[in-house]
């Protein structure tokens, strides 16, 4: 049966600010949260100004979930995300420069301009899967990575994230069942932001919580408050440790709200005003964590100002990097379909110029 947030919290050895994290780690987590929030806000602004091509899928309001679960991973653990989870990938280690180069379709993007926006990933570096739209198509793939770790006796784990709506797809069931049968080292995360595009939970799922579906697979299921990044982190940490130690998969449902529309074009009129206000006012995961660290004296306003500065500077640098990165050259459109032509083993042409 799924454990409630409070039951869960009890079980966590709460440190000075909950969850045993060093001051450095706490500050790093704050940085990630603020970076993701800033990135999300600025990219939307650029999109609205018509300066950003393609689409954006804002993860605002869900940083507690995204940063919390990804922060529990070690560098060689792998992460499988959806379109919505860029904050998790940034937390896991994607570089702003290359992320922005991808959004602008440039050769220095992680996909060399072949894919856009959050259909991104960095397998060789940050160990993140390159996002595929079809939901939740990466869940079964995570089973395979986890199987590899288990077979080689490595303590590594695979973590996969998908949204509430994606859980109604058959692949979700198959992957959980497979992982449970073989005790695969996987952490299944559901970012329950209460909406699947315009569709509310009650038209997607026939039970009150997604966490309780863990019982159908005989694995632990926990529901946490996405507004509380430490609660999310602790649950993820526990799941990662259990999986790495051979304890098998865990299902974590982290509840928050999608503050923005499904994508940049969507005003999300279907989300009740009060629901949105309540979350923005009282359940802002970034603000709550920043306030917590201030209250507990972990950071002061000087450090916060410096942090804001640093983030703004990094974003500017990323933006500049992206604008100066060349477009892929047309001639290479047929390259790299298979390993045979060595396209990906070598360096691509940089003759594409910066004007499309």
């Amino acid at each position: 049966m799924a454990r409630t947030v409070s039951e869960h919290a009890e079980q966590q050895g709460e440190g000075p600010v909950g969850a045993e994290l060093s001051l450095e780690r706490l500050k790093e987590l704050l940085y990630k949260l603020k970076l993701c929030r800033y990135f999300d806000e600025r990219m939307e602004a650029l999109y609205r100004q018509g300066r950003l091509p393609g689409a954006i899928y804002s993860g605002r309001g869900q940083e507690g979930t995204h940063c919390g679960v990804a922060f529990a991973l070690r560098p060689d653990d792998s992460l499988f995300c959806t379109h919505r989870d860029l904050s998790a990938q940034l937390t896991k280690g994607l570089e702003l420069n290359r992320v922005m180069a991808q959004f602008w379709g440039r050769i220095d993007g992680y996909t060399r301009g072949r894919d856009g926006n959050s259909h991104i990933g960095d397998w060789r570096g940050a160990r993140t899967f390159t996002v595929i739209s079809h939901l939740p198509i990466a869940y079964p793939v995570a089973c395979g990575a986890a199987l590899a770790y288990m077979r080689r006796g490595e303590p590594r784990v695979a973590m996969a994230i998908c949204g509430d709506g994606a859980t109604s797809n058959g692949r979700w069931h198959e992957a959980l069942n497979m992982s449970a049968i073989h005790d695969l080292p996987v952490v299944w995360v559901v970012n329950n932001n209460q909406w699947a595009y315009s569709t509310p939970n009650w038209l997607e799922i026939s039970v009150p919580t997604i966490a309780e579906r863990a019982a159908a697979y005989g694995i632990p299921g926990v529901r946490v408050d996405g507004a509380n990044v430490l609660e999310v982190y602790s649950a993820a940490r526990e799941a990662v440790e259990r999986a790495g130690a051979g304890g098998g998969p865990t299902l974590i449902e982290s509840v928050s709200l999608r503050w923005r529309g499904h994508a940049g074009h969507d005003p999300a009129k279907y989300v009740p005003r009060e629901m949105l206000d309540e979350h923005v006012t009282n359940k802002d995961p970034v603000k709550r964590f920043e306030d917590l660290l201030r209250d507990r004296g972990v950071v002061d306003h000087v450090e916060i100002d410096a942090l804001n500065q640093r983030i703004a500077t990094e974003f500017e640098a990323g933006y500049e990097f992206a604008q100066h990165s060349p477009f892929p050259v047309p001639e290479e459109v047929t390259k790299g379909l298979f390993t045979d032509d060595g396209y990906w083993a070598g360096e691509p042409s940089r003759e594409g110029g910066t004007e499309a």
Binding site: G105, H119, H134, A196, S198
Partner: protein, 347 residues
């Protein structure tokens, strides 16, 4: 379910016809909405199901205002479960309904592939049970949406026995063909082209029973020197190219297939017989794309008439890329069409 209705973003039960331009023209998207609306008014067995088609009106707003007029039972929001969307449509059709399922993008038809090609498509041949099901969704590229929101699945479905596959290029054809598909007793895959949605407008016949027959190609421009056989968004590229060619004294005929399965071979062959030269243009990529079937058919049945090899023009066999430089290189451009016609002419 009242809250769903209240949440209705826009439309509020207004007829799509109201969204025509002052001059009475309808975009391709509005024409499709009109077809759905009129058939739902005409036949209560027709209902819609799909993701976010209710209060939200669909990702592309095709069904905007429908739930306010027809209610959530006939404009049904489904979970993200394409196999089950198709299965549900099939079962309801077996029990006398005429479901029209929207795929948020035609790309996600692969997520329901087995129910489409194995269950739905083969069932009538095995049982004789009529299956009035329409599966519709936005296909095609040219909008910088990369490989998961740009594919052309028509070759996969046209190869699956038991499906009619429709790919209109103009508002009138889209409306007339969609109405025919909804009235057809067989499963139809109706592939709309998202690049055309809001770019192409035209005046539509007022007759609510105006239908375009499934399986009939249409010559969109008459010509004598070469036949450009194509469909979907490429029809518009072909017409543009034909214009340029005309300025240079080359008379190109543009044949719009409109339906891929069944294929109107007679109209295609008649054109080739007249021009003796055929350029088969398709947005589905080259290897086993629609162009392969059309070219093979012409090469076999039109052999005597050909003064030059049937030539295919199509994207290369790679996923649709995101970056504008790559997508432009991927998709056949007007210049590519003109160039291919020139090469054909110099035979």
């Amino acid at each position: 379910m009242s809250q769903v209705v209240e949440a209705g973003a826009a439309g509020h039960g207004a007829e799509p016809r109201g969204k025509r331009t002052e001059s009475g023209e309808a975009t391709y998207l509005i024409a499709i909405a009109e077809a759905l609306w009129e058939e739902m008014e005409r036949d209560e067995r027709v209902f819609l199901l799909g993701e976010d088609i209710g209060a939200y009106g669909g990702a592309f707003k095709v069904t905007e205002g429908f739930i306010e007029r027809f209610g959530p039972e006939r404009v049904m929001d489904t979970p993200i479960a394409e196999e089950t969307i198709v299965g549900t449509a099939m079962g309801a059709a077996m029990e006398g309904f005429r479901p029209v399922a929207e795929f948020q993008y035609a790309d996600f038809m692969t997520s329901g592939f087995d129910e489409i090609v194995t269950a739905l498509a083969r069932y009538h041949y095995r049982t004789g049970v009529p299956l009035p099901v329409v599966l519709r969704g936005p296909s095609g590229g040219g909008v910088r949406a990369s490989s998961f929101h740009s594919i052309n699945p028509e070759p996969w479905f046209a190869h699956a026995p038991g499906l009619k596959v429709i790919c209109p290029a103009f508002p009138g054809d889209a409306k007339g063909l969609l109405k025919s598909a909804i009235r057809d007793d067989n499963p139809c895959v109706f592939l709309e082209h998202k690049w055309i949605y809001r770019r192409v407008k035209e005046l539509l016949p007022e007759d609510p029973d105006f239908l375009v027959p499934i399986g009939a190609a249409d010559v969109k421009r008459e010509g004598t020197d070469v036949s450009i056989v194509t469909y979907g968004a490429m029809v518009h590229r072909a017409l543009e190219a034909a214009g340029e060619l005309a300025d240079r004294g080359v008379s190109a005929e543009v044949v719009d297939l409109r339906t891929i399965q069944p294929l109107d071979t007679a109209t295609v062959l008649r054109s080739v017989e007249k021009t003796s030269r055929a350029l088969v243009l398709s947005e589905s990529h080259r290897f086993l794309g629609v162009g392969a079937e059309v070219a093979a058919m012409i090469a076999e049945a039109g052999f005597e008439h050909l003064d030059a090899p049937v030539t295919r023009l199509a994207p290369p066999n790679v996923p649709v890329p995101f970056s504008p430089t790559l997508e432009d290189a991927f998709l056949p451009q007007v210049a590519d069409i003109v160039g291919a016609v020139d090469r054909l002419g110099s035979w």
